[in-house]
Symmetry: C2
Subunit: 346 residues, 2 copies
């Protein structure tokens, strides 16, 4: 019944700067066989997220260990149970876990969670109903603490997290200004996601354009980009503004600190004079809040108050190119690779 | 009864970088005459504080307007009422207010607060019982939120604020590591103020020495210096560490951003990965907490749990040189200029 091989994508070498196709290797491995306590899962969708770039590097400290060279690329995945040694999972069950960039994986049953396929498209559990959705929700509402009438700025405005941040901020009565790369993305942020304004960071005059889009200053900046965007927002903060730090995609491919001058004193000065609160957060600290989140988010989706856009590419073999593209802002919406088809014979 | 003249120190010109004596001018002005609603105050002590450097600059935005060129240098002062048009103040009363760098001032009665001379030496109201004490107390306990057993690091460890931060942290059960300039100051921090360790930032190997002094990492860094000290602390933060940003004395004399590389991405990365909370604060936002503060601090002083050290220089004419010195770390303890003598004929 099982095919002879399991296609996997390995980390062939660590990238220096931007990942290149040679950092990845597609291999055919023997089909995994679940030992007692494990479940054999067929991958349906795998999630591509900027944080995965950090795990490809070996030298930098991060919040989780790096992927070993020669190891399977890691990712959150939605899959289908094809063989189970655990009474909690039956063949055909839809599950979410961290099976990585491969067609099949033998996963400890305790590391899987069953999904309800009737509640929403299964892939949404990798986005608006999953880790990116929770990231947006907890980061905006907790360290961001937006109040009605305040101005919220978010970068990567059509990305998996940014688009949701903006829509939750709108629900909370804020004026929402996105920043995105290109006029097409900005149009989507405004027209599809309901942002009040969106500033194209690829057009000249980012700082001036952002200032014009924020006539009342900035009360919350949801930081998921860094670099030039942060410098453009910095002079616009109102007293007691909040900056949840969620990610820094502009820096993930950097191999050294940028050239000077050193802006740190200017940043610290704004923090002092404006009494800013800059707060790093990681979604993994907030997993206990998932039930509360999912209750709210499912309601907003049902009521049409949150719109969700996926950018799905079929074929495991396309994951490397799509990951490289993600780090350059090629995607529009949540990037997902469709690896297999539900219910199809394996 | 009044002398013919009032000696004042004016801001003669704005400093470019380090203030120089030529930025100040000692003048003899006519004795001020209080109009109805004003009180004529003889200055006994004036407070020198790093924040005053910011008010000498015209171009930079700060949290208060700059001193105009030709205007009297601003400072908090303790004085004695010599003439009053307001029933709340009588001749001989000790008062605190913002009379500036001058021997006499006619001050609106509403801008003065009466002091109890029997409670503590009058000058202490400019330090441990006043603005610097409240700054240390509110900044450490509010955004700093120290817990027993945690490691608290504070720079300018023998300064007006740093010495008090460290002692309050000790009272709250923390391990306290100071940073100060020179072995003599470090000895004072340890022996007089009870710090567990103090690292000399003028000795070679600041980063290594600080790491050795913080074997369990850093949970709270009370930031009142910036620059090299901040970079030395940055790699030592524990998860969820807090950084109250109180001041940046290392940068106050800078005329441009430092040379590169730009450390901002490294700072933001630590904020993200360690989930740091960096929080600017200004004491003026916390004046309503003054009664609570003074109750605790007066008790600690009475019980000998907080030691207080002043660095008093007599003579208004010495204020410029002492201000220049303060910005270079010349003082040990709270810097105060004694301008006049209590009860003496004017």
């Amino acid at each position: 019944m099982s095919p002879a091989v399991n296609r996997q994508i390995l980390l062939a070498s660590r990238p220096h700067g931007e990942p290149v196709p040679e950092n990845f290797q597609l291999v055919e491995s023997p089909m995994p066989v679940p030992v007692p306590g494990q479940v054999l899962v067929k991958t349906l969708y795998l999630s591509l997220d900027p944080y995965q770039r950090g795990r490809m590097s070996g030298s930098e400290k991060s919040y989780v260990p790096p992927i070993p060279v020669g190891g399977v690329m890691q990712a959150e995945t939605v899959g289908e149970v094809v063989e189970s040694t655990d009474p909690r999972f039956a063949v055909g069950d839809a599950v979410i876990g961290y099976a990585g960039w491969q067609e099949f994986a033998a996963v400890p049953a305790g590391a899987l969670r069953k999904l309800d396929p009737s509640a929403a498209p299964l892939s949404w559990n990798l986005g608006v109903l999953g880790m990116p959705g929770l990231t947006a929700w907890v980061g905006l509402l907790d360290p961001g603490a937006p109040k009605p009438g305040e101005t919220v700025v978010v970068g990567a405005a059509t990305g998996a997290v940014g688009a949701i941040v903006g829509q939750i901020a709108k629900i909370h009565g804020c004026r929402v200004v996105g920043i995105a790369g290109g006029a097409a993305k900005c149009a989507i942020a405004r027209e599809e996601f309901g942002f009040d304004e969106c500033v194209d960071h690829k057009a000249p005059g980012l700082a001036e354009n952002l200032r014009a889009a924020c006539p009342n200053g900035v009360d919350v900046y949801f930081e998921n980009v860094g670099g030039e965007l942060f410098r453009a927002v910095l002079p616009l903060f109102n007293l007691h503004a909040r900056i949840p730090v969620c990610g820094l995609i502009a820096h993930y491919n950097e191999t050294a600190l940028p050239e000077g001058p050193d802006f740190t004193p200017a940043v610290m000065r704004e923090i002092l004079v404006k009494r800013l609160r800059v707060q790093g957060f990681l979604v993994m600290d907030s997993f206990p809040k998932y039930p509360e989140f999912i209750g709210q988010m499912a309601g907003w989706l049902r009521e049409g108050r949150v719109k969700y856009r996926e950018d799905v590419t079929p074929g495991l073999e396309n994951a490397p190119a799509e990951m490289i593209g993600l780090l350059k802002g090629k995607n529009v919406g949540k990037k997902v690779i469709q690896v297999g088809t539900q219910g199809a014979a394996i």
